[in-house]
Symmetry: D2
Subunit: 304 residues, 4 copies
């Protein structure tokens, strides 16, 4: 079961598709192996970057089961939903299929501190004993969650064990949460998103790792390890070698296509296909990616 | 099968729940009868006001089948989805269960004319022969669809047979579409939403009726009938008697709770329950509704 | 000086322009007289509906002075600004020119309770002794202000003497504020916007009047007077006679053009001109307005 | 006068303030010198990052004049406004004070292709002979401008001579515009924003340079020069040395405070002060900046 001690890299797993858009369930095994071999300490599936909204509920369960059958790593399953009944049903199915916990983003339209707190009270009631991750991603949800509200949810809901941190800018939020836990608030796990774009600074502020899907999980594992070992300079050196690609992948609306291109090239999945509707990479974009990959390889060689 | 000649009142059906939030499938029959007896010429189910997002896929199909078993009226089923595969699957299930057509709102994030047109090209390809309603509801979807784009979709996609018109303000859009069809463009059905708040003017501009869930379908049926018969003054007299309530029901976020309260009071459904999360009416709000209903009864008596 | 006892109808004044877009300063006098003769107890100028953003700062001051020269009614001046320095400068100029107080909407981008509270602390500091109106208009500002935050501002800032209430839905907010003031919180004036669309219910919840620009101030004055006198039925009868027009004027983006058309027709201003960019009414829209005015006249005759 | 041949680096100039928030007009000279000595080929003032909204109109003109008095570089002045009259007035004042052209972002609320095109037709009419920059910054304006619309404005309005490119992602937009100009459309200047985060790729797609305020204009000048000279690898090497800082500065809401901190440290302005309301950097943020600056210096040494 997921708890507050989780750390390292929970990779946001892609969902592999065949060129015709059908689920490529065969690719799941090697993708899971790929993530595990490159330092993932957990997997997050059916999140926004997993094209969860484009899957039928049968497909969603199929994926959870396949991932679970392949790995002992803890699995977090995205269960955000407009209704609590559906959220509860999916969460129960996910746990029955072997998930370690679930992740919930706020529904659009929540505004005031009390509305957001009240929403997560309902989430916790709906989920019962199931541990959950509070997903804080204002750029996509439109809901800004103040540190104060997160702390209130942490105080009121013992099953909230992790923050998926993806506010932008968000460094002060990590500091605020850690200052509070140093002063006695329950300390939950903080794993950071945004494709890893601020990972060294986030670790420096007190995060426990990353939860994002950058196509090179080894960068994130390395940065987390070095920062944890007190080697900030080493962490930043490693980070800088990957940063041009991190930045390029971090283009909204286009990022997943870039990520899948790289994952397919690296052999993690068989095809770079996104399920429709989704963007396609232009020839120029592909040339840019290839150039960045090339330069990245050389930067890593220089570093070694 | 739904086609361009559809007119009258397609009521947006509520989804009835028991006080504990379970589906109240028994109430479906009397709700369908209620709508039919008060002048509905069609029913729209699983739309935004039907709390579709809070239903499991099994429940959705169960509702379609139950409605179909009860009525010969044409049924439109909302099938909007982030992915075309899921949209296609639900649309096929809906048609197999007896639907006359489906309704599709644009996915969030579409901005330019070409993006919206391209989206509906994909919708039409996904749906094949299934006739569909283009749902234009910017206040909720965040996507503004210009008249020009609707006309392009109408030109390119013969299966687009109806516009669910819910832009606000939207009167000029109806005029633009009718001017175009008078000049030779294919004339599709235009049924209007927004709780009926502009129905007399919408009919005057060339709409074919209403597609909305105001708790008194007989008002909409009456206004449509009188306007179609050339009795604008009579239509407006009738409309004015209901307008205080139309206006009150038209409060975003609260409207469905008001509507269900009235439907339950009128015996159309057994309980006013919304599935969680949803607002609750305060004592003061209920008193306001009762007062408005009272005044409405007297206004209708004066009119008769 | 504006204070918590303000009540009645503070009309949001239009800004009159000549057909070529130049300021029609001559029309200001008769417009002010028009409002005063029809029951206005105050005037609000340079608000969103006064096309304030389209005026130069010289023109703004010119208008304040002209209005002041014509009337003894208290004048509220909109001084919302991205920067506090500019806000303070305009507020001081306005007060020097004879304003009774100023109105401030939150700057876009404010999200959490603390951010909004902090913003109004700064507003109060900037304004010093000048009494101000907190403008709550989420549909336009994108900032939702919870009742709790308003109460905190009221507690912390003695110069916050009035709420311009324009949330939608917003009735529960009025009740929450009045429940709090009944329990000992400072009671500020609440004047309501939204074109008067919910005025009888707002008064029933404890509002002190209206602050909006519906082209028939006498409706609002009458409703406020009757509600204050305990004649709810009379208030609603009067309201209902105007409601078709209230509703029609309440179309976002188009409303001001409708309002100016009616004001010009009634002789309050010389021309219906909006300063560019602004919408133009179509022939069909004008016919709808004329029909509504006609019906309104007859409804009022029946009432009398 | 600004024309289509503009290229290089138009630095978005900060507006210097004294610690008490008063305009620091004395700092303008050295800031202008700082930019010019580090490769700026033009200056853009009173843009969003210049805190233009927080200035009085008198201050705005004072700044234009002071900048003009100090430099022969072409000056672009931001004149975006809710009203065309105010836009025209400010543009005329700016040109009279020595500006080379003006910049206009679309007003919020524009949605369809035709609305945006129509808006810029009005801009061009309002500005007469004054050359203008079309500012495309959807993240802030909320208005997405398709390539097609930009090309239509370019076709219809000969005074539109430059695109300030700040869509995100935006690389395909540059390619679309260059494909069109290769095919015969008028070729306008494209200068890119987003703090320089995609500058090498943007130059590779056909941009003419940068228009943004990153605190190291020499990076942008170097990248533009090398890319123009065909030295893509050299450009990317230089870019990579600055990228950790570029990324850090590119935090919405916080970026300007970071930028001003660095500019003050580098001696370009006397104080890092932002005019209120504005964020303050925490001690931790300042430590992060210092660390990044330190690492940047060493990366540049390695590169040299």
């Amino acid at each position: 079961m997921l708890d507050e001690t989780a750390k390292g890299v929970f990779t946001i797993a892609a969902t592999p598709f065949l060129p015709d858009g059908a689920l490529d369930i065969e690719s799941v095994d090697r993708m899971v192996d790929f993530y595990a071999e490159r330092g993932a300490t957990g997997l997050t599936i059916l999140g926004m970057m997993g094209e969860a909204g484009k899957l039928t509920s049968t497909e969603s369960i199929e994926i959870i089961k396949r991932v679970k059958a392949r790995t002992m790593l803890p699995i977090v399953v995205g269960v955000s939903s407009p209704g609590f009944a559906a959220m509860g049903a999916l969460a129960n199915e996910a746990m029955a299929a072997g998930a370690a916990g679930v992740m919930v983003a706020p529904t659009g339209g929540l505004r005031s501190d009390d509305q957001i707190t009240g929403y997560y009270h309902n989430v916790a009631n709906t989920l019962g004993d199931i541990p959950f991750v509070l997903q804080d991603f204002p750029l996509v949800t439109g809901v800004t969650i103040p540190s104060k509200v997160i702390l209130k949810v942490v105080e009121d809901c013992p099953t909230c064990v992790m923050l998926k941190h993806e506010d932008w800018p968000g460094l002060e939020k990590i500091s605020a949460l850690r200052t509070a836990s140093d002063a006695g608030a329950r300390r939950i796990s903080i794993l950071c998103g945004n494709g890893g774009l601020f990972l060294p600074e986030e670790m420096g502020r007190g995060a426990d790792g990353a939860m994002t899907g950058f196509a090179f999980p080894e960068m994130m594992a390395g940065v987390v390890e070095k920062m944890s070992a007190g080697d900030a300079a080493g962490a930043q050196d490693l980070f800088s070698a990957y940063l041009p690609m991190v930045r390029y992948e971090n283009q909204p609306g286009l990022g997943l296509a870039i990520r899948k291109y790289v994952l397919a090239k690296r052999g993690a999945i068989a095809h770079a296909t996104l399920r429709s509707p989704g963007p396609k990479l232009s020839t120029l974009a592909i040339a840019e990616i290839e150039n960045l990959l090339d330069r990245q390889t050389r930067a890593l060689e220089r570093l070694a």
